[in-house]
């Protein structure tokens, strides 16, 4: 790998050559982007364009641009327009994955706009609610209080102590304030009208599941959570309700529209795709053909 081993390499390091190549490259680029003094191209910045630029500025800053700011905006627009035109002339937009995705997304946006343009009728919403009733049911809610026994503090005695308190409470001989017998904790001493998810968020999933079966209006337990043992009393169980359309109209409309959006998007794509004859080449293509043939046979 010594310096003089290949003539080409040392030749390639020649600064004069770099200079010449750079010059030639710029010349070619200049020709490519059409730096031809004979035929000046035209950019007309229409009044409407200037207005639009000013309006866009005002939408951000909530005041019109000053004359100087507006001149800057126009200058920047001109620059962008020139770069845009020249880049397109050079074909820089072709085979650019970023531009392809952007265009796909823009078309997606348009098709989604169409989907959300349609306001559902009362009848449609009612039908949708009936059909998907389970999706809109307000979950059952529970109110309960709990006394905590910490294995950290009591070791194996935690469960026994919990059982002891429970027995006292059931026999009516418990302390006036049962919490006196338990341990201090950041866990809340109870929850009011909480859904199973809300209970799980604080006390854990297992605890929420066990609570599901707890009787109302009496002390029960002890239940195990990932924190320790709990003696508890469910004061109220509010059954789940299926709300009427009147109560949750915006939510039903949101879900209906979301489904429509998905459906119409798929339809648009299928409609466009049906205009194309798609052929996959190579081994995978053959495999796909076989699958298709099998599908057709199965259909018959």
């Amino acid at each position: 790998m010594s310096d003089g081993s290949t003539g080409t390499r040392s030749w390639l390091r020649e600064p004069l050559l770099h200079f010449l190549l750079l010059g030639a490259g710029l010349f070619v680029l200049f020709r490519l982007v059409g730096g031809d003094a004979q035929a000046p191209k035209e950019i007309v910045v229409t009044e409407a364009r200037v207005e639009a630029l000013a309006e866009n500025f005002a939408r951000t800053w909530m005041r019109p641009p000053t004359a100087q700011e507006l001149t800057g905006l126009v200058e920047d627009y001109v620059k962008e327009e020139i770069f845009y035109r020249e880049a397109v002339t050079m074909g820089l937009d072709r085979d650019d994955v970023v531009i392809r995705r952007r265009l796909r997304q823009k078309l997606d946006f348009i098709s989604e706009d169409v989907a959300t343009a349609v306001e559902p009728t009362e009848l449609q919403l009612r039908g949708y609610l009936d059909e998907h009733a389970e999706k809109f049911v307000e979950p059952a809610r529970l109110s309960f209080q709990q006394v905590f026994f910490s294995p950290e503090r009591r070791g194996d005695a935690a469960m026994r102590d919990a059982e002891k308190l429970l027995a006292q409470l059931r026999a009516g001989s418990g302390p006036a304030d049962p919490w006196e017998s338990g341990d201090a904790t950041l866990l809340p001493p109870g929850l009011e009208a909480a859904t199973p998810q809300e209970i799980a968020n604080t006390f854990g999933e297992d605890f929420a599941l066990q609570l599901d079966e707890a009787p109302v209006g009496q002390w029960t337990g002890p239940l195990r959570s990932s924190f320790g043992w709990h003696v508890l009393s469910v004061s109220e169980r509010i059954p789940g309700v299926a709300p009427s359309l009147l109560q949750i109209r915006p939510i039903v409309a949101r879900e209906w529209q979301s489904e429509q959006r998905q459906k119409l998007s798929d339809e648009f794509y299928q409609a466009m795709r049906s205009q194309y004859d798609v052929r996959v080449e190579g081994e995978l293509g053959e495999l796909l053909e076989e699958f298709k043939a099998a599908d057709r046979e199965a259909a018959q």
């Binding site: 639009a52 800053w61 909530m62 706009d113 950290e152 009011e192 409609a271």
Partner: protein
């Protein structure tokens, strides 16, 4: 005496202090700094009329969907609706076609798509008068509004017109650009359900000064669509200078009567610029500048998918939990390599210290940041859980090879897939789950940042806390009664008193036990030199684990089975708490204190990947992590 009071309190509270899941109350009434309400007990019962947050609300203040230019262009097909659905706990299909669902719903989320390049989207369906002056557009508009087949036909005509280059020119007019923003705000409106799930309106202002020096800010709205739509988001095409963003926010608030705040992120990728001790233009920091920054930026994002910006080992060499922890410290966002001296202006702990110093000089602390965390996802999935990690871009979604692929690449400078961090969420101590209450809690910094765990963390500072306060039925009661919560201020200490702190943490019911709670103290001495020290204040198995002669607490150990990506909660504690008095307090010195909670070791997302895909990763890939949380600081100002 104290015990008696505690008993009386318990009895009084048996019914009254029950955390309510669905309670809606006006949030304006809640001001922890209001001494008449929170520091004195005018009536006999000190607990009557208590009004404070009872549970933390977990969410993400940093979410990109396919509508962000870089996300859409890298292939993300999921939009804001999918993002909200996922955060609310629904199952969605990811861009790579995989079903995805969170272990449990989040309480709130802000979508912060980049303001730069929010797409030009047509307004045909809205019947914009100018658009409707074009007969073709008018006809399409009518067809679309009929819906069904008619709408499909309009769509096909439009496609044909496009391919034949006969699209009406008006459709591409930039003045219709506004609808991208209005669409975003409309979706937030649809998914915002006070009391159940809060959809905050927001955007990211993405300043990459000097070629990738990350000065990004998430702008979070307190208000709804009606106000948000009155102006387009600020873009960096207008300016890359944060001062211009503050100016824009100020103008917006004055015009609309609404409220805004900004959350900067990724100081670690700013190449020395996030917390530099000069203005963006290189001028000295003025009092006015410091006021602006403190006013508009109450929170800083301490961790996210692109690493942590809390503290750096070179600045905090004695911090064993920062060494090697989720560091992205080789370059900026374009991986332009760092030069010596940059790192000291990138990390929050150092900035908090410099803030004290600046306050000493200027009278105002510009870096008075509370803690936030977000994902910065770019595939619309706020999946920050180690066993459920969908990574940043759609290309990083679960796949056998993702650990070994390049997450970022500029020339030969690379960040590998395994370096991406599965974090984080912001926990907000808000009075209720509404936009207003969550925003207000952010503004007063009553927040803590987590790495994706949903552990609970309470942190109060005052001069009167005693060990027995932790035994109260709800430690929050003495907490608010005798001190200030996280994010608050302690004024000059009474003669002979040192600040006391009550800190308590409860493990995530779905997560690992707790190893320890620490308090990180920073201060500035009379010569203007800044210092920091970390105190272990509570830890599990205290009978077995005693600090050594060097003051270092023995490790908690590990139960992680890396090969199977499992662990057990047989070490650590489900709950830890302490009342701690600063043993080295100097009443003349400005200081801040924040709590850090460390969980026991659990498998990192890489271990879950290795087990699921049955791949062997390189030896440098960390397979175990310790999830954690950082509270907003409490500041002492003499």
């Amino acid at each position: 005496m104290r015990i008696r009071i505690a008993v009386a309190v318990l009895a009084a509270l048996a019914c009254s202090v029950v955390a309510s899941a669905q309670q809606i109350t006006p949030s304006q009434a809640y001001r922890p700094a209001d001494t008449t309400k929170f520091h004195k007990a005018p009536g006999y019962s000190p607990y009557a009329g208590r009004h404070y947050p009872t549970r933390p609300l977990f969410g993400d203040e940093h979410v990109h969907t396919g509508w962000s230019g870089d996300a859409g262009m890298s292939g993300t097909t999921l939009g804001p609706e999918d993002a909200f659905r996922f955060a609310r706990g629904e199952e969605v299909v990811s861009t790579s076609g995989q079903p995805a669902q969170l272990s449990r719903p989040l309480d709130w989320m802000a979508i912060t798509d980049h303001s730069d390049g929010m797409g030009v989207i047509n307004l045909i369906r809205e019947g914009d008068p100018e658009m409707m002056s074009d007969p073709t557009l008018k006809r399409w508009h009518d067809m679309m509004n009929k819906g069904g087949e008619s709408a499909s036909a309009a769509m096909m005509e439009l496609i044909a017109a496009q391919s034949n280059k006969k699209l009406p020119p008006l459709i591409m007019d930039p003045r219709f650009a506004k609808s991208a923003w209005e669409r975003t705000t409309a979706i937030a409106e649809k998914y915002n359900e006070p009391g159940r799930f809060t959809a905050l309106i927001g955007y990211e202002w993405t300043s990459n000064a000097g070629g990738g020096d990350n000065l990004h800010r998430n702008v979070i709205y307190r208000d709804g669509k009606d106000k948000a739509d009155l102006a387009l988001p600020m873009t960096t095409f207008v300016s890359e200078n944060p001062e211009e963003l503050w100016k824009w926010m100020d103008g917006w608030e004055k015009k609309t009567g609404g409220r805004l705040l900004a959350i900067p992120h990724n100081g670690n990728l700013s190449n020395g610029r996030m917390f530099e001790l000069q203005t963006f233009e290189g001028k000295p920091i003025s009092k006015d500048w410091a006021e602006q920054r403190a006013r508009w930026e109450p929170l800083f994002e301490a961790i996210q998918f692109k690493g942590q910006s809390e503290a750096h080992p070179s600045l905090s060499p004695n911090d064993e939990f920062t060494a090697g922890y989720e560091l992205w410290d080789r370059g900026n966002l374009n991986l332009v390599p760092k030069k010596p001296g940059m790192i000291q202006h990138e990390y929050l702990r150092e900035a908090l210290k410099n803030g004290l110093k600046l306050e000493q000089e200027l009278g105002v602390n510009p870096f008075k940041y509370g803690m936030a965390a977000g994902t910065d996802t770019h595939n619309a999935l706020v999946a920050a859980e180690e066993d459920n990690f969908f990574s940043k871009f759609s290309g990083g979604e679960p796949r056998a090879d993702r650990w070994d692929e390049d997450a970022m690449k500029f020339g030969d400078r690379v960040v590998k897939g395994w370096e991406v961090t599965a974090a984080g969420y912001t926990a907000v101590w808000a009075l209720e789950n509404t936009r207003e209450a969550i925003w207000d809690a952010m503004k007063r910094r009553e927040t803590y940042a987590t790495t994706g765990t949903r552990l609970w963390l309470r942190f109060f500072g005052g001069y009167e806390f005693a060990a027995s306060d932790l035994d109260a039925r709800a430690p929050a009661i003495p907490g608010y009664a005798k001190g200030v919560p996280m994010g608050g201020d302690l004024r000059k200490a009474p003669a002979g008193k040192a600040p006391t702190f009550m800190v308590a943490a409860l493990k995530d019911p779905y997560g690992g036990n707790l190893d320890r709670i620490q308090i990180v103290k920073g201060w500035v001495d009379s010569s203007g030199k800044t210092h920091e020290k970390i105190f272990d204040v509570a830890w599990s198995q205290p009978n077995k684990r005693k600090p050594g002669a060097d003051g270092r607490l023995p490790d908690v150990g590990s139960t992680v089975d890396v090969a199977n990506a499992t662990w057990t909660n047989t070490i650590g504690a489900p709950e830890l708490g302490a009342v701690w008095t600063d043993p080295e307090f100097n009443p003349a010195q400005r200081a801040f204190y924040y709590a850090r909670v460390i969980e026991i070791p659990t498998p990192r997302w890489t271990a879950y990947d290795a087990a699921y895909f049955k791949v062997k990763m390189a030896p440098e890939v960390p397979m175990v992590t310790q999830e954690r949380a950082w509270s907003s600081p409490i500041w002492y100002t003499p």
